[in-house]
Symmetry: C2
Subunit: 344 residues, 2 copies
């Protein structure tokens, strides 16, 4: 497996997007976000997605040159139409607008519809954290993603809904969460399928609602993801329903439905200006103190260090930035193929 | 076990609070919220708490006549000091202020410190839903509650943090979540202990981090609650850390610490005016359509009906409002004792 410097990987991805007609901003934004996912160790949302997004451009799902448009607005809020451009670009636009509004109104909320797949939801709240704000983002599948069986139901009914948040600290990383309400998302099942391995217990049910360890049940035979929570999976299920409403119903995208007109992401994006509540330095120091307290706890045998949410991926980021990103052979071959096809 | 009409139970609780010196507003607000928890089927946060709050008044933890004061404010935000009055009253004040701000600024966020135990967190977001808004509330233990072991740690480190949200619908109930990041909260362990029963697997670890089914480990011997999530309990753990920061660090209360100066609740309270995003009728109808979709799904054998979050407790509420509230003998005896002691 080759190890590629982040800059080189970004240039490669960017050149492919430019070659298929993306603007400089589109190509640069998407390439940077994909590589930042690789840097953070989330390879499932990294450059492995290049081929998928190139195909979406070719098939017309991603509309090149589309601009995000604000359809409805107050000083603290907006409804944004992404016009089916690159989802990554739309999500950056939405978070930047939320930040801009929070600068003036202390809080900014932007809901988004007609937005393509935004990739890793955890990529966007750090934009707010960098502006000394709390950043939040939730999504659903624009009403059109069917993957998970809520508690009591059989079949693919709801998306694996996601929520992400980032809090600025006095350390060199944000405390940041990025979670889906499924035990494991579909992308993870793909990874296990590619490895030819059986899934751990509790990740999946088959099309009749029975536990199954064969990822082909989800990927090919109508099986469903399972809400997280173990014996209290109704909590993960309820959380997903709340995220579906928050993300879908405050924009024209809507909640998940049986026969959706479109598939993509609907977003709820929020920035909260810390200074409206506490001096930013005191806020960051308070979280720093909390970090020390949690990390200083007695540890389970075998656990050498307790990581705050966001800390481990920050370490991976620093390590890969210094030493390069290991890229799976299959992914590297596909990237080389895309380069040959489009860039020569 | 006696079955008491809701009005009668409320009058009884109110008279006890009045007798120990609460104002009419304090007594009425707390009594109504306690009885509304019983009506909704959440008896652990109902009139069973009367003795606890009377003792807190007598011990000076709850300061009678304390007024909520706004210490810092913008058009969309406020930091509120509850001055250690009744937590229920402070939380109502905070949600009402968030609603008032959202009427003008589309969004209102109020963070709260110096607030006593607010009871059932799910009681407050419906105030926003009744005003055609989305309501959200999160809490921590004012930096001072130690109950749960985050992933990798041993001992009572963090509180069982809570989050609640309510969304208005075109039905006679809100879709509403009310969850803690623990598999089961401490109150539930008390109920099992009172019944003399062993806890289900996965609810608790002992003081050394080993699984235990004896509730005395948590209640008496330094055992800890467990984050929900089963094989992915790190998700419940991460969610709790985010809720701790959101609730604690945006007010002077702070995040959880080892040697806290005070114990209570710190709150993050938000109201979002739906009309800033979508016409309210369209929003409610969209959620109604979503409700029908989820309820119409194929069901797991033995499941007769799929309930949306908030639906089941609404049914219990209606049923108990019509037919009375079953009150456990021990609770009823305590209430009668409080009445005799204070009201005669």
């Amino acid at each position: 497996m080759p190890t590629i410097p982040a800059d080189e990987l970004k240039d490669l991805a960017e050149s492919i997007y430019l070659a298929v007609g993306a603007s400089e901003r589109e190509a640069s934004t998407v390439a940077e976000l994909l590589v930042s996912s690789n840097l953070a160790g989330h390879d499932s949302h990294g450059v492995i997605r290049c081929a998928q997004y190139v195909k979406a451009v070719q098939d017309g799902y991603i509309r090149l040159g589309a601009e995000s448009v604000v359809e409805r607005e107050t000083s603290a809020t907006a409804v944004m139409n992404g016009n089916w451009g690159f989802g990554h670009v739309t999500a950056v636009d939405a978070m930047n607008l939320a930040i801009e509004k929070a600068r003036k109104a202390s809080v900014g909320i932007v809901t988004v519809h007609r937005c393509n797949h935004i990739g890793r939801v955890g990529a966007f709240p750090p934009l707010a954290a960098a502006a000394d704000m709390v950043g939040l983002l939730t999504n659903n599948g624009h009403g059109g993603d069917h993957a998970l069986a809520p508690t009591g139901a059989i079949g693919r009914i709801l998306p694996a809904a996601c929520m992400a948040a980032a809090f600025p600290t006095d350390r060199d990383y944000n405390v940041a969460i990025d979670l889906t309400n499924a035990v494991a998302a579909g992308g993870k099942l793909r990874v296990w399928a590619a490895l030819g391995e059986a899934l751990p217990d509790g990740w999946q049910v088959d099309a009749d609602g029975n536990p199954s360890n064969d990822p082909a049940d989800f990927l090919e035979r109508g099986g469903a993801l399972v809400p997280f929570g173990g014996p209290v999976a109704h909590k993960g299920s309820a959380l997903g329903i709340a995220l579906d409403i928050l993300s879908g119903a405050l924009s024209p995208a809507g909640c998940t439905e049986e026969n959706p007109p479109e598939v993509g992401n609907a977003l709820f994006v929020q920035a909260i200006d810390v200074e409206a509540f506490q001096p930013i330095d005191a806020f960051k120091a308070e979280i720093g103190k909390f970090i020390d307290y949690v990390k200083g706890c007695r540890k389970v045998p075998g656990v050498e260090e307790i990581f705050l949410p966001g800390e481990r991926s920050h370490r991976t980021y620093q390590e890969r930035l210094a030493n390069g990103i290991p890229v799976a052979d299959a992914t590297w071959d596909i990237l080389q193929g895309l380069k040959e096809e489009h860039c020569s």
